[in-house]
């Protein structure tokens, strides 16, 4: 677009001011904000009626009953009465942005990383914000024994994946390692054709990683003696050392136990995902202290190994003492309705407290991020959702979603609302079209 030069210089002058104003109005970093009068579910403690939560610099500063919290002078006061505040929802297994991992060349590709393929401008990412999600484990698929490294994404607003990454103390983007067993990863060679072959290939890979690690240890920092860098083995060594949590797709009861056997052989940390047959081996899972990230599907089946999936999985695992989280597996289920998964868990016998924890704090624990998110506690990131009522009612709507104190979804904003309810223009493909505002972003 051609803009005449006088107007252009004015625009250049005004634009930064506008940006600053925008920054001030849309995020809370500059000062503190108090959300007053809501029913608050901190998850780490009992429900607070008529509560106050003060947010400052992207963190929760204080939280409690109205009578117990001192609202800082100068704080922006937000009337949240009649509403409910819950921690931002955490999806431990998501494919929003369609980030993929390895290709068809090898069943074991830990060198691949979803970070390199996820599209954070996808409508599916917008829909996740509309569902109250603040953190997802962005996973590659299950068509490999090891399909790649996963990426933990905070759903901050941003046009590039870097804007959404979570970095560890050394600045390295955080994520886990996706593994799978059962029928999804069995196909023509070089992929395995049987379960025993699947396990043997995984053992072989981790033994190589152990040898690689031994060489590094033996080198004791001497660059001359260090082995050639190997991206595959580096990721597996991180898994062996507990720096990279293994997120393991598994359905059938015996496949679940195979995962636990391999874990014990090599000592990696594992979260069991999907776990359709969990109800059959809940005792064994509990004894192994293995956390489970489960899914709720509207009818059983879809494939033979998921035939016996039950909505009672959440209840049975909870009663067995297993740490449970829910996941969307988006696009398998819709992130906008993530609360519904836990509500159906309650329908099938899970406690309300357990179900809400399974959408939040338990998920944070499974990603190793419980120190910074997952519950509403002073010092934690201000990741939360404001919803219109009971978290487990069909009639409740997600009104607003905040990541680190910044509002990333607002149902009253028509652009955001489009993704929340759908309609013309809400489509995924819009991102790739040549014309129109969203296409250019």
């Amino acid at each position: 677009m051609h803009i005449p030069s006088p107007q252009r210089s004015l625009l250049l002058l005004v634009a930064p001011l506008l940006l600053i104003l925008l920054a001030l109005s849309s995020n809370l970093h500059a000062d503190s904000t108090a959300f007053i009068g809501a029913t608050i579910y901190p998850v780490s403690g009992p429900v607070i009626e008529d509560g106050v939560m003060v947010v400052r610099d992207g963190k929760i500063e204080s939280i409690g009953a109205r009578s117990d919290v001192v609202i800082p002078s100068g704080a922006t006061k937000v009337d949240s009465s009649g509403k409910t505040i819950i921690p931002g929802l955490i999806c431990t297994h998501s494919h929003i942005g369609m980030g993929g991992g390895g290709d068809g060349s090898d069943p074991i590709q830990p060198e691949c990383w979803t970070l390199d393929s996820v599209n954070v401008r996808s409508a599916s990412v917008e829909r996740a914000r509309a569902g109250g999600l603040t953190l997802v484990n962005q996973m590659p698929g299950s068509g490999h024994l090891i399909s790649g490294r996963t990426t933990y994404l905070k759903l901050r607003r941003g046009g590039k994946v870097d804007d959404l990454l979570i970095r560890d103390a050394s600045g390295w983007p955080m994520g886990g390692l996706k593994m799978a067993n059962g029928t999804n990863s069995q196909r023509a060679a070089p992929f395995p054709g049987t379960r025993a072959k699947s396990a043997a290939l995984v053992r072989g890979a981790y033994i190589k990683a152990q040898e690689y690690r031994a060489k590094i240890e033996k080198a004791a920092g001497d660059p001359e003696k260090m082995p050639e860098r190997d991206l595959k083995l580096e990721a597996l060594v991180e898994a062996l050392e507990g720096k990279r949590i293994v997120h393991h797709h598994t359905h059938r009861h015996d496949d679940i136990l195979t995962v636990l056997r391999l874990r014990d052989e090599f000592g990696f940390q594992v979260v069991l995902h999907h776990v359709s047959d969990a109800w059959k081996v809940a005792k064994e899972i509990a004894e192994a202290k293995a956390p489970c990230s489960i899914i709720v599907i509207d009818s059983p089946g879809g494939k033979l190994e998921a035939r016996d999936i039950q909505m009672e999985n959440g209840m049975i695992l909870e009663q067995a003492g297993v740490n449970v989280s829910f996941h969307t597996d988006d696009w398998i289920t819709d992130s906008r309705l993530f609360l519904r998964s836990a509500a159906l868990g309650v329908r099938a016998g899970m406690t309300r407290e357990g179900a809400l924890r399974a959408l939040t704090l338990s998920g944070a624990e499974m990603l190793g991020l419980e120190d910074r998110t997952g519950s509403l506690d002073p010092g934690k990131d201000a990741d939360f959702a404001i919803i219109s009522g009971d978290p487990f009612s069909v009639y409740t709507k997600v009104l607003e979603t905040y990541v680190e104190g910044t509002r990333v979804f607002d149902l009253s904003n028509p652009e955001h609302r489009l993704f929340a309810v759908g309609g013309r223009g809400a489509g995924e493909d819009q991102t790739y079209q040549c014309c129109g505002e969203r296409g250019g972003q």
């Binding site: 879809g302 309609g423 809400a426």
Partner: protein, 417 residues
């Protein structure tokens, strides 16, 4: 597991009681009974508080407040917080598409030809499919099921009750609709025609021209003994039923262009059309009204990508407000869930602005009307089938349970789900 034993016992019991269909008198007490009957002015009747539905010989014999309905001695009495008519899924593939998703239980789509109206759904319906038991346990008593979208004309549908030991016992209406798919999901695989939308339309037009000529020959032979009737042709016989207005062409179309094509086909062929899926129908309410085309809308939770990329959870609310006849189906999923549950889909429509009665109507009375079976099912009125669903709370609420399902006066499910 104990509940598996219970399940087997339950199934055995259901099989046993099925033999007694119509023998027993059942009285269903409900704190709230949504009869889904309409008043003379077309408005929904108010629900009955503290009411009774009496079923004798498989048919509703009385409905009303408890004080007004006398329960005969020896009746089996069942109680629930909320009572509705048995639910109707207006567009399903259950029974043809099975839960395992393996070749041996996937009979919903024949890929060998784009044009197969002769395929009769009765020949592929597996009455023992576990998904039937699943939806029944959630209150679904009637399925409009059959061939899936995916070929230009992929076959027929029929209507069943979710009970019976064989297809003949299950069937409510053997000839329902004929399935047509417009848009890219109806393109041929492996380079086979149709490969474009224009080709789809041309092929349909040509096929109906042939069928009309076949029909004319039959008519001519009937009018004149001298003239010979054409040789029997299964494909043309079905298309002639459409041309004669005896059954509708159910066109699955989602995108704007495809819905426009469905509207044009109806005008050109002067046939009964039911629009199915219809993600973007919100742009064509005037045309749908003018052409009297009812809509079986996609499940509210249909994936919001691909053909459903512009679908909206508020479409149903808008349709109801605009007065478009609408019912809801579970649709077709190629992966999971192998069936959606219409109770839950209507619930989301209700949560997104559709009034409660209209949302419940999508899966009861309005569905029966659209499917042409309202003389039998869809509302709890004297003389209609004794098909009832029972709940322990608001049926749409996530945490309520369906606590019982009754078909033709037979309790077919009584475990809370």
């Amino acid at each position: 597991m104990k509940f598996q034993v219970l399940l087997i016992l339950g199934l055995a019991l259901a099989g046993f009681t099925a033999d007694l269909a119509g023998q027993q008198t059942i009285a269903i007490r409900g704190e709230t009974i949504h009869t889904m009957a309409r008043q003379a002015d077309g408005q929904w009747m108010e629900p009955i508080k503290n009411g009774v539905v009496l079923i004798i010989d498989g048919k509703v014999a009385a409905v009303g407040p408890a004080l007004a309905v006398e329960i005969p001695d020896g009746s089996r009495v069942i109680e629930a917080a909320v009572v509705t008519p048995g639910l109707i899924d207006s567009r399903s593939v259950v029974g043809l598409a099975g839960w395992l998703n393996y070749d041996h239980d996937q009979d919903q789509l024949e890929q060998s030809s784009p044009m197969q109206p002769e395929l009769d759904a009765r020949d592929a319906y597996n009455v023992r499919e576990p998904l039937i038991e699943w939806v029944r346990s959630l209150g679904v008593t009637t399925l409009h099921t059959g061939h899936a979208p995916g070929q230009l004309i992929s076959g027929q549908t029929f209507i069943v009750k979710t009970r019976g030991d064989n297809v003949d016992q299950a069937v409510l209406k053997s000839k329902a609709m004929v399935v047509c798919t417009l848009g890219s999901s109806g393109f041929g695989s492996g380079g086979k025609s149709p490969g474009t939308r224009a080709k789809q339309m041309a092929m349909i037009r040509q096929e109906f021209i042939k069928a009309r000529s076949y029909m004319d020959k039959i008519d001519a032979a009937q009018a004149d003994e001298e003239k010979e009737a054409p040789a029997r042709d299964l494909r043309n016989e079905v298309l002639v039923e459409i041309l004669r207005g005896e059954r509708p062409l159910m066109i699955t179309a989602h995108g704007s262009v495809d819905i426009q094509n469905a509207l044009r086909l109806q005008k050109e062929l002067q046939i009964k059309v039911v629009l199915e899926g219809a993600s973007e129908c919100y742009d064509y309410f005037d045309e749908l009204k003018e052409q009297q085309i009812p809509v079986i809308i996609h499940p509210t939770m249909m994936r919001a990508s691909g053909k459903g990329q512009n679908s909206s959870m508020e479409t149903v609310a808008k349709m109801v407000a605009a007065g478009i006849p609408v019912a809801m189906g579970s649709g077709y999923e190629s992966y999971v869930p192998k069936t959606r549950v219409v109770l839950w889909e209507a619930a989301i429509a209700c949560a997104y602005g559709c009034p409660f009665n209209d949302a419940l109507g999508l899966i009861t009375a309005s569905a029966a009307q659209l499917l042409g079976i309202s003389d039998r099912v869809g509302s709890l009125e004297v003389g209609k089938d004794g098909d009832v669903a029972l709940y322990d709370g608001d049926p749409f609420e996530y945490t309520s349970h369906c606590v019982g399902t009754v078909i033709d006066g037979v309790v077919v499910s009584d475990q809370p789900r």
